[in-house]
Amino acid sequence: MATIVDIAVSNPDFSTLVTAVSAANLVDALNSPGPFTVFAPVNKAFEKLPPGTITTLVQNIPQLTRILTYHVAAGRYTKNDLRGRESIPSLEGTPIDLYITAAEFEVNNATVIAADIEADNGIIHVIDTVILMRPHWFHPIMRWGKEGIKSEGVVV
């Protein structure tokens, strides 16, 4: 079988991701035994970002690396393995939120458009949006919005 990098390189839909991974010197890491679970954005996902975002990241490799490692989790997790879990820790450190039903598979605000692509050293789930670390205030604000103003208690 092929590694995660081999699979990405062989698919033109991942050309932006491959360029970014190469620029960030992550090729060797993603070719290592791992295993990893990679949430791989397609080219169209990068195109959704406003102009300048990618330029700034490519100019600043440590910052680019941080965003890319947010798309990777340690371990080999299929969609089924992840069912029932609310989040999974990313290599960047911030958890990736999960929403999984029989028909749906979402990570943060991205939809998984192809799940469970097996590689030698892990699993790839293809996503339609680049995911960004949700800040620590995100979930308290969402809870407060859902429960209404009367609940008052929010820690931001």
Binding site: T55, P62, Q63, N109, G145, I149
Partner: protein, 438 residues
Amino acid sequence: MPSTLIEPTTKLPPSTHPFAEIIHRLERGGSMLPDTEENLMQIIGLYKAYAIPMDFYWRDLLYIAERVFLDPVPAFKYFLPKEYLELANHYAGDNADLRIWRGYATAHKELLEFIEKGELKARIPKLFHHFYHDRINMEFAEECMRAMFWHRNMGGLLEPYMDSAEYKQNADRAIRAYFRDNPIMLGLYKLFPDMFIEQCRQATMYSVLGLFWEVMCPVFLEMSDIYDEGGFKGVPDAMNFLVNGIFAIAGRPIYHRVYIRGEWYDIVPKSKGFTWLYEAAFPYVEAVFYRTSPFRGTKSYNAQAREVPDDQNDFHYGILYADKFPVASAGIPPTLLHQDMYHFLPQYLVDYYQKFCRGADDMLIQLGVSFQRSMYNVTSAVIQAGRAAFLYPLDDPNPRHLWANRYYFEGQLNRFANPKYGMNKAARILAIQSQDYR
């Protein structure tokens, strides 16, 4: 509310939030500030008036972080050397890292002119200008820095890093180099190492704020230029321009380095991967727009009577809640900032303020209120950028996604509707819905 009624997006039932009308506006891609020509003129005029002192603030903040550093008597820290006035902005000028905004790399012409002659329009020794406060008031910038420094635990990875052994080691190296020829300070460092490290953390925060504002300065100037050319059709355009700017620059590195005897010492290296959005912008908005600290001035707070929140998360003394009194402080309301902006108002705003209230006599208050409107618009941009980055498009076909967007907007606006400590009364969000609030 006096503004025109905004229909909710069709897919969801109307919001029942106390600020439902503003929620619906946000759901349609609008700002917390109503879309009127008068509002657009006020906020853009203020962005311009803010950008020019900001050009001084970021340069001086970096000068203090990188050169003044731990000087025990930093008497001349506000006297910016030529080198820092000519320091190239990373995001303006021909050699910029990213050329989205026009403008040039070195200090703005109007700023240089002001530094030369001041409000007095007289070439007298710098010290006289300084003590007469006829200068750019860095006290405001430092107050913002202190707010960020004091309200810790606001997310990002810089916070924990500043407490790490690696940070202390980097700081130690710089402190020893800085005081190499000063045995008294080195002796004090040996006795009170934590105090010096804490001062170093403060210098780091100077750098963080400097790097943050280095970006905002050309953004605001560009907005003013676009407006002058007739380019913005309304408040949402101005907000979206900011949203795009936030995304473009999100990955800009945040770092701190010190220049000692011809050598740069990294205290927070760029290689840590800290970014403008997570380590500077979000903490800044939280600390400065929402929280800061109770101001000294016309209003007193009694901590024993629990008038000041026990929990720093509940602090609500930022610009979004401020009463616009001329208290002459660097804190909130930031009269010293108003004074700085007063020198750089576009003529159309000077003419406008003459027509209302007490004309020229209370222009600082009037421009302070416009500034508050402009910062509600910046906060709206941050809220919309957060929605775009972490949630869903406003026209997403999935109702569950639209509900998530709504919870997010309502959660954000709850911060202005919370009766705890009278936050709902302090928040100016309802006031800015009307043009009569001046």
